[in-house]
Symmetry: C2
Subunit: 183 residues, 2 copies
């Protein structure tokens, strides 16, 4: 139904909460309490996030979890990759391969692959840090086209400068059409 799973949603909540008090250890119990979620559930999410190296854990008494990277460097796409078990892709045939039945030479598939790319890029453009800071407008809102990206965006590795011309999603409004309805 084109939804992320609840666990993934919890993941964003948990990481955002942890990002609010950086450097500190957060026990699963503390997070469950703060977010109003069940302890086993929070625990499960954190374990998975740990397995994907988004948080690291300290076992034993006074243990807990910490973010392994700065909140600015954890994207929504990362969280989805960690918590959704199937590989990313809006359709089965575009996520995996060779499942498409027949006919139409599957030009369709090519289009899904492209759509996937765009969707994924949208998800990669939002970080946990964006979720936390109330003041800073989200990257989707602020005009990133101005060649001065938000400062906290600077210390990520691999910022392909080559595509600097179009870093804004807000500015990226593809031609809307006919029955433009509310979201």
């Amino acid at each position: 139904m084109l939804r992320i799973s609840k666990l993934t949603d919890y993941g964003t909540l948990i990481l955002a909460h942890m990002a609010g008090l950086p450097g500190r250890l957060h026990s699963a119990a503390e997070l469950a309490e703060a977010l109003g979620l069940g302890l086993p559930t929070v625990s499960k999410v954190l374990k998975t996030l740990g397995r994907h190296a988004l948080v690291s854990s300290q076992r034993g008494a006074h243990g807990g979890y910490v973010l392994t990277r700065a909140a600015e460097q954890i994207t929504v796409a990362d969280i989805i990759d960690a918590l959704e078990d199937q590989p990313f892709g809006l359709t089965e045939c575009s996520a995996s391969a060779g499942v498409c039945s027949m006919e139409s030479d599957c030009r369709i598939r090519d289009n899904w692959l492209r759509i996937n790319t765009v969707v994924r890029q949208a998800l990669q453009s939002v970080t946990v840090a964006d979720m936390v800071h109330p003041d800073a407008p989200s990257p989707l809102a602020r005009g990133l086209v101005s060649n001065e990206p938000a400062s906290h965006r600077m210390h990520g590795p691999a910022r392909l400068g080559s595509r600097a011309a179009a870093t804004s999603l807000a500015a990226c409004i593809p031609t809307p059409r006919a029955d433009d309805q509310e979201i």
Copy 2:
């Protein structure tokens, strides 16, 4: 799991196939045969598409379905809206309202709303016609930034010229980050 349902996928196949032979009536049986799908399933999809006015039906002997609009004016977003029963939105709280439990003042939600918008725009930018024509590169691929949009794109209503500066999704590569992994 961030997937569209199979029925929605079938919907794109069916509509694309119909778009290949425009003006003609297509019976559910014919489509099922051509696409290698079960007749009841195809029938179900077509009924739903009919209810959402993407196809119209002719009952009785030699009846069948036709597209109600030009293939250029049916977007992937339209198909999703018709066939997925829940309202569009990547998270429950961003699709509906007032389900968010507590805490964090839900700045999170705002961000999801924005992400939704971008994703939806991507889905709105691809039409059934794009799925069919093998030669014409998809709008996601071709550089729409060039101020001459593909001709078939012209007869849609409401083409907000004001945003003409950035009509390309391909050009819209938001700053990629750290662990850029394959899709």
